[in-house]
Each structure stands twice: as structure tokens, then as C-alpha cells.
């Protein structure tokens, strides 16, 4: 993958840490896992624990107003806030975005709250299922709302995939920028949590903590900002065993291009059985600091690697050190990259 020459001009993040990139950086640096809350199963008791770390209520200044956002899902609201922060960070007025702006949106589960609510209505009485809710269940509804909010009428696309699908979007954005399809591109990865997705995670491991959020990166071939260099991947796999086997190669290829002054942003969640392959792969490399956002925030699924990338950009800006971002993924491909200061 060649993303050379692309500048990350703006960053935004919404996470369990709060409604800004600054909140993300502060909380992850503090290194204390955020408190969890028990995920409530509607109308039912769950005889096993299911923990979540959710995005806190928004501060008043983060509640965007727009006709399309009146009944928008949480994933859309997180995404709009992250996008606005990234645009502002890049010096753009979100109310008057630049011409030639494109949007690439990625997710794993999508608009799960409305989907669950609508399907419950279908099961109860399909003749009375809400026509207002159904359109909000579609994977590309959040991207459509953001496009409407920002007034972007050009290339807008949604990708569905693993926790690191943001890297596929990064690759696509590079293609779009180089072919002139867009002049700047907003990458957004987001996820919202519901009781079904939180329970699903516990089937992978009972101690996995479901989380949610959104990260946005504004990319451009022009201007200034940190750059993503030395992208390793996609190293593709279809099984956990294959993933385990190829992570040493991912690390070997990455560490050949970094020095010990770098900061590692890894993907570890704090559960040894899940973390072991990645931990072993990085164990022989020295770093100035290691950040493990998932240990602090929880598993935010489709937003996971994007939050790590956002954190990497913020660390790089603040410390002037390169940040290595490890994105082994969940079921398709592994990536790693190095973010270098402007």
C-alpha cells in the first residue's frame, strides 16, 4: 500500500474517554482502565456478566444541529462530532467545507440500535414497523447524514469490514486523491454499542468489554500534518491460526523501518489469551512508550484501529516522535504503519 505524500491535516475522536481527541490522548496516557457498566438486556435478565464502556453524554457544544440529525443514530452523532473536530483541526469551517471533499466511512456492525429496534417491530407486527426507522438501519445512513451535514455532494462511500477497515479506506483515499476524484478526503470509522453486540463480544471471551466511538482523519496531498509512512499490509488471513503465524512477519517488516524513539500504539485488550500473538510479536522491540487504548477504552470494534490511528497522530504531534500503530485486525488482514511528525 502506498500512502506516501498524504498529510493528515485534521483529527477528531469520540470515545468512552470523551468527545474530543484531547480526551482520548489524556485518558489513554493516564493508563487507568475506565470504569465499566453492566449492559442491560431489555426486558430480561442476563445470567452472565456483560460489561460495556460507553461514550458519555455529549457536552452541549458537541451536539450538532441539522434536520437530518434529529433522529440520527448514536453512530451518526459520534461520527459528525469527530468529523467536525477533524475539519476544524485542519482549519476548515465545517459550515463551509472545501470543494472537492470526499468521505470514506467504515464500520463493522453499523446502526445496530435502530436495526434491533426495527427488527423487533417486524417480529411483533410487521404492518406497524416504522418507516422512519428502517432507512436508519442501512449501513450507509451515517455517511449520508454526514454528507448532508457538511454539504458534500461528490464521492461518499461506506465500507464494511474488520476493526482495521480504516486502512482499506486509507488506501482508497490515496487512490481518490491521486486520481483527482477528490481534493481532500475525510476518513471516518465508527461504531455504536447495543446489548446484542456487547453480548456477541462475550462469546469471543467473557471478559471482553464492548465500547463505541468514532475517529476521523482529514487527508490531503497538500498542506501540512503528520504522514503515514511505511504501511505494512494487508497481510491477509482467514483464521486465527493464520493471523498468529503472520504477526511476526508484520512486526519484522515494521521494525526494520523504525527506531527506539518511537511510541507503539498496540491493539491489546488486556486479555492474555487474545493478546498473546501480538504481544509476542512486539516483545523484542524497544519503544519510548507503549499505549494500549483498548485496555483503557474497551473493544470499539469497527472504530478500534481508527481510534488507535487518531491517537498515533495526536502522540506524534505532541511528542514529535514517530508513532507505530499495530492493527492486527480481527478476521481478515493485519496492518501496521508508522506515523511521522510534520
Amino acid at each position: 500500500m502506498n500512502v506516501e505524500g498524504i498529510h493528515i491535516r485534521g483529527v477528531g475522536a469520540v470515545s468512552a474517554a470523551g468527545w474530543s481527541g484531547a480526551d482520548l490522548l489524556r485518558v489513554v496516557r493516564e493508563g487507568m482502565p475506565l470504569p465499566t457498566s453492566n449492559c442491560v438486556r431489555p426486558g430480561d435478565e442476563r445470567p452472565w456478566p456483560c460489561a460495556t464502556r460507553l461514550v458519555p453524554p455529549p457536552p452541549p457544544e458537541k451536539a450538532a444541529r441539522h434536520p437530518r440529525l434529529r433522529r440520527a443514530s448514536a453512530i451518526t452523532r459520534y461520527s459528525v462530532a469527530a468529523a467536525v473536530e477533524a475539519m476544524t483541526d485542519a482549519g476548515h469551517d465545517p459550515a463551509a467545507p472545501p470543494k472537492g471533499l470526499g468521505i470514506l466511512f467504515t464500520m463493522m456492525n453499523g446502526c445496530v440500535n435502530y436495526t434491533g429496534r426495527f427488527y423487533q417491530e417486524v417480529l411483533q407486527n410487521p404492518a406497524q414497523a416504522s418507516p422512519l426507522i428502517f432507512p436508519e438501519t442501512v449501513f450507509n445512513a451515517p455517511a449520508s447524514h454526514i454528507a448532508s451535514f457538511l454539504g458534500v455532494d461528490g464521492a461518499v462511500s461506506t465500507l464494511v469490514g474488520s476493526s482495521n477497515t480504516i486502512m482499506e479506506a486509507f488506501d482508497a483515499a490515496a487512490c481518490w486523491l491521486r486520481t483527482g476524484l477528490v481534493d481532500e478526503c475525510l476518513l471516518i470509522a465508527a461504531e455504536e454499542c447495543d446489548w446484542l453486540s456487547a453480548e456477541a463480544l462475550t462469546y469471543y471471551h467473557p471478559k471482553l468489554v464492548a465500547s463505541e466511538g468514532a475517529a476521523a482523519l482529514l487527508l490531503s496531498l497538500k498542506g501540512e500534518g503528520p504522514q503515514v509512512k511505511n504501511v505494512i499490509g494487508p497481510l491477509c488471513y482467514t483464521t486465527w491460526d493464520e493471523r498468529t503465524a503472520l504477526l511476526p512477519d508484520l512486526v519484522r517488516q515494521t521494525t526494520a523501518r523504525i527506531d527506539s524513539a518511537s511510541i507503539l500504539i498496540d491493539d491489546q485488550c488486556g486479555i492474555p489469551r487474545i493478546d498473546r500473538p501480538e504481544a509476542c510479536a512486539w516483545s523484542e522491540t524497544a519503544f519510548q512508550a507503549v499505549r494500549s487504548p483498548k485496555k483503557i477504552l474497551g473493544e470499539s470494534m469497527g472504530a478500534g484501529s481508527a481510534l488507535n490511528l487518531a491517537l498515533g497522530v495526536l502522540e506524534t504531534r505532541d511528542t514529535r516522535r514517530p508513532a507505530v500503530v499495530s492493527m492486527p485486525g480481527t478476521n481478515t488482514a493485519a496492518y501496521a504503519c508508522v506515523i511521522t511528525p510534520a
Partner: protein, 407 residues
């Protein structure tokens, strides 16, 4: 940074699975016979809904996935099975039996493996205890996990990009794949789209009153009353011309995408985004409207879509409009959602190769907004360029242009 040199893009193979049949030959025969393929949906409950029929694919009974363990076969979604069949046909047409040398797959889907998500939901509502099989449902509900089954089937490892732009997913996936080749990033990409019928989606369109109560879609009819849903998959193998390893069926010459900001589910009445995508795709293809020998329209049969598209075609084509043949094959097979753009692109390939035009069926009285040559019966024709439109929820519009390769 200067743009890299643009590549000529050859389509060297295509596969199609639709309610009209499995494969190119069956579909060609059905289209030539002006056949429709709607029947009652019998694999989920449609009680209480306005419509109960759709374009249904008859899948073979035998297991299609040879490398998937028997206990995992039931987690392979219908849509994934359709996609595998379409991929096999596309590869076979290109003289291949595997995915060796394919740089990437770009696949569009609107619903993914929605029936598995429905099953997960229903199980969770039925039983508050831990049910081990829920892990498999949660895992295989993810479309990328379904794509892993296809990668495993061919022993292939490579990036699979899943585009989910509602009903424009398939067209955008093909267009995106073309851009990957044009930019020099890839030599060979398998691209397409698929969707299978799912209860949630069916009920969703029903809730919007978008389904034709009669079950018969009548795109561009003055008294059309809605669409019929369908299912299927379309796939094509795109190759950079200089890297082409087999004969080309046609060239993919143009692609453009734009976003209609009018409404989440309703198109701008003037079809402004559609005008931009038709204009952009034709500019990229280097053709003017009068050179287009066939348009496979989005043509859903809903009141809003058809008048917006007809208006857009008239505005885009200008004086040439009356000579441009247009039809909606959704009238025969239904709206295949994420698969629609890809299946309809393959139908354009079939039309270019066979030199014929498929029909818009079920018309009683043509809508006054129609200024083009609405093809109402299968007919022979001479055409060099074909265009297909796809418009999706969320305002995603996409247009593809293809050019015939002379024998």
C-alpha cells in the same frame, strides 16, 4: 502530484445469478423471452405485509462450498452462495479456475448476511442464557467473514473490500475496482455485488410503502405503484489491458459517482446527481449521449425514482434523448439492492456482446416524463456503448459505461 497514466480496462469474464436463472446463458434466454420471475417468498414470513412476492433465486441443492466443514455450511448465507456461483462463472469465462493473480476483490452488498443477524437476534430474544451457537451466528453475520469462506474456497489470500452504498453498492464496487486499475495500483480485480432476500429488508421496504401491492413492478409506467425485491449476484473480472490474460468481452470505459443530498430515501426530483454521474462517466469514456446505444436504468418502479431518472436522462441527453433505448430489467427480476448495479452491468455486457436490448416489462401506459426510447420488448440492435445507472438510499449515485469489443 501528477495523475498516473490512465489504463484501458478490459472485462475478461462475467458471472450472473439472478431470479431469471443461474449463469449468463439462462439469463440471456430469459431476457430474450421477456420472462418475469416473481413468486411468493417462502423462506420467511410475509404475513401482514403489503407484498409477499419477490424475484427468488433457485440455488442448487448440493453444497457449493467444498472446503467449508459440514458443520459450518449452514452459516454460509444464501447471498454468499450466489456470489460464489457468479465468481466461478466469471473466472471460467476468463479461462480461470482459481483466483491466482487476482490483486483484490471489491464486492458490494447492502445487507450482507442479514439473515444470520436476524437469527442471532431471534435466538437472543428467545433464550437469555448463553447459547454456544450464537458465536457462529455473530461471526458469520459479518460480511467479511462470509468473504473469507470464498477466499478459503479458492485457497486465496488477498484484500476483499466490501462496499456498502445501499442499492448503488455493486456499481460502486465495479467503479472502484476500475479506479484501482486506472491508478496503477492493481492489474487485476474481481468486482461485483450481491444481496439475498432478508426478512428485515423486505419488511423495511414494505414499511416505506415502496413495494408494489400487486407484486408486479412497472418501471416507467404512468400508474406504477412500487418495486418488487429480488436477489442475486453479478461479478466481473477487470484487467489492465497490458496485463490482460484472456480475451476481453468489453471495456469498462467510464465510472462516476456523486451524492444526492435531497433526502435519505427520496431522489432529488430533477435528478441532479444522476445528471452529474451520467455526464462524468461519459466524459471519462469519451462518448457523448448520442453514442450510448442502451441504458439499463435504475428504474425501480417507484413513483419518485422513475420520474427523477427520466427527467435526468432527458436533461443529460438533450436532443439525443428520443433515440436512446432505455429499459429497466428490474421489471423482470426485481430490485436486487446491493447486487443490482453489478447484475445490471453484466446485463449490459450481455447486450453488448449479443447485440440486443432487454425489455422494460409490464408497461400499460408510458409515463409522460419518459422522453427516451423505452424498450418494451426484447429486440435486436446494433450498439457500441452501454450505460447503467444505480441510485441508492443515502443518495449514492453511480454510473458505469461499457464499450463492446469487436470479435
Amino acid at each position: 502530484m501528477p495523475s498516473p497514466p490512465r489504463q484501458r480496462i478490459a472485462i475478461t469474464g462475467a458471472g450472473i445469478v439472478s431470479p431469471l436463472g443461474l449463469g449468463w446463458a439462462h439469463n440471456e434466454r430469459s431476457l430474450a423471452a421477456d420472462r418475469t420471475a416473481f413468486r411468493k417468498v417462502d423462506f420467511f414470513d410475509t404475513t401482514g405485509l403489503i407484498a409477499s412476492t419477490a424475484g427468488v433465486v433457485d440455488l442448487p441443492d448440493e453444497p457449493l462450498f467444498q472446503r467449508t466443514p459440514p458443520h459450518k455450511q449452514r452459516y454460509i448465507d444464501r447471498g454468499t452462495r450466489m456470489l460464489l456461483l457468479a465468481i466461478r462463472e466469471a473466472l471460467a469465462q476468463a479461462g480461470r479456475s482459481n483466483l491466482d493473480g487476482i490483486d483484490a476483490m471489491v464486492i458490494g452488498s447492502s445487507a450482507g448476511a442479514m439473515p444470520l443477524g436476524e437469527s442471532y437476534f431471534e435466538q437472543a430474544r428467545q433464550d437469555s442464557g448463553r447459547v454456544p451457537s450464537q458465536l457462529s451466528r455473530a461471526e458469520h453475520y459479518q460480511p467479511q467473514r462470509q468473504m473469507n469462506s470464498i477466499a478459503d474456497e479458492f485457497g486465496w489470500r488477498g484484500p476483499v473490500i466490501i462496499v456498502s452504498n445501499a442499492c448503488a453498492s455493486g456499481a460502486n464496487a465495479i467503479g472502484w475496482a476500475a479506479e484501482m486499475i486506472r491508478s496503477g495500483r492493481c492489474k487485476r480485480v474481481l468486482a461485483g455485488g450481491y444481496d439475498a432476500l432478508a426478512r428485515l429488508v423486505f419488511a423495511g421496504f414494505d414499511s416505506l410503502r415502496a413495494l408494489a401491492p400487486s407484486g408486479i413492478p412497472r418501471p416507467f409506467d404512468a400508474k406504477r405503484d412500487g418495486l418488487a425485491l429480488g436477489e442475486g449476484a453479478g461479478v466481473m473480472l477487470l484487467e489492465a489491458e497490458e496485463a490482460r490474460q484472456s480475451d476481453a468481452v468489453a471495456d469498462l470505459t467510464g465510472y462516476a459517482t456523486a451524492t444526492d443530498l435531497h433526502h435519505l430515501t427520496q431522489p432529488d426530483p430533477e435528478g441532479k446527481a444522476a445528471i452529474r454521474t451520467m455526464t462524468g462517466a461519459c466524459e471519462q469514456a469519451g462518448v457523448s449521449p448520442e453514442k450510448i446505444g442502451y441504458i439499463n436504468s435504475h428504474g425501480t418502479g417507484t413513483p419518485f425514482n422513475d420520474v427523477a431518472e427520466a427527467t435526468a436522462i432527458a436533461a443529460w441527453a438533450g436532443d439525443a434523448v428520443k433515440n436512446i433505448p432505455v429499459s429497466s430489467t428490474k421489471s423482470a427480476m426485481g430490485h436486487l439492492l446491493g447486487g443490482a448495479g453489478a447484475v445490471e452491468a453484466v446485463i449490459c455486457l450481455m447486450a453488448l456482446r449479443g447485440q440486443w436490448l432487454p425489455a422494460s416489462l409490464n408497461i400499460r401506459e408510458i409515463d409522460p416524463a419518459v422522453k427516451f426510447d423505452l424498450v418494451q420488448r426484447f429486440r435486436r440492435a446494433s450498439l457500441e456503448h452501454a450505460l447503467t445507472n444505480s441510485f441508492g438510499f443515502g443518495g449514492t449515485n453511480a454510473t458505469l459505461v461499457m464499450q463492446r469489443r469487436s470479435a
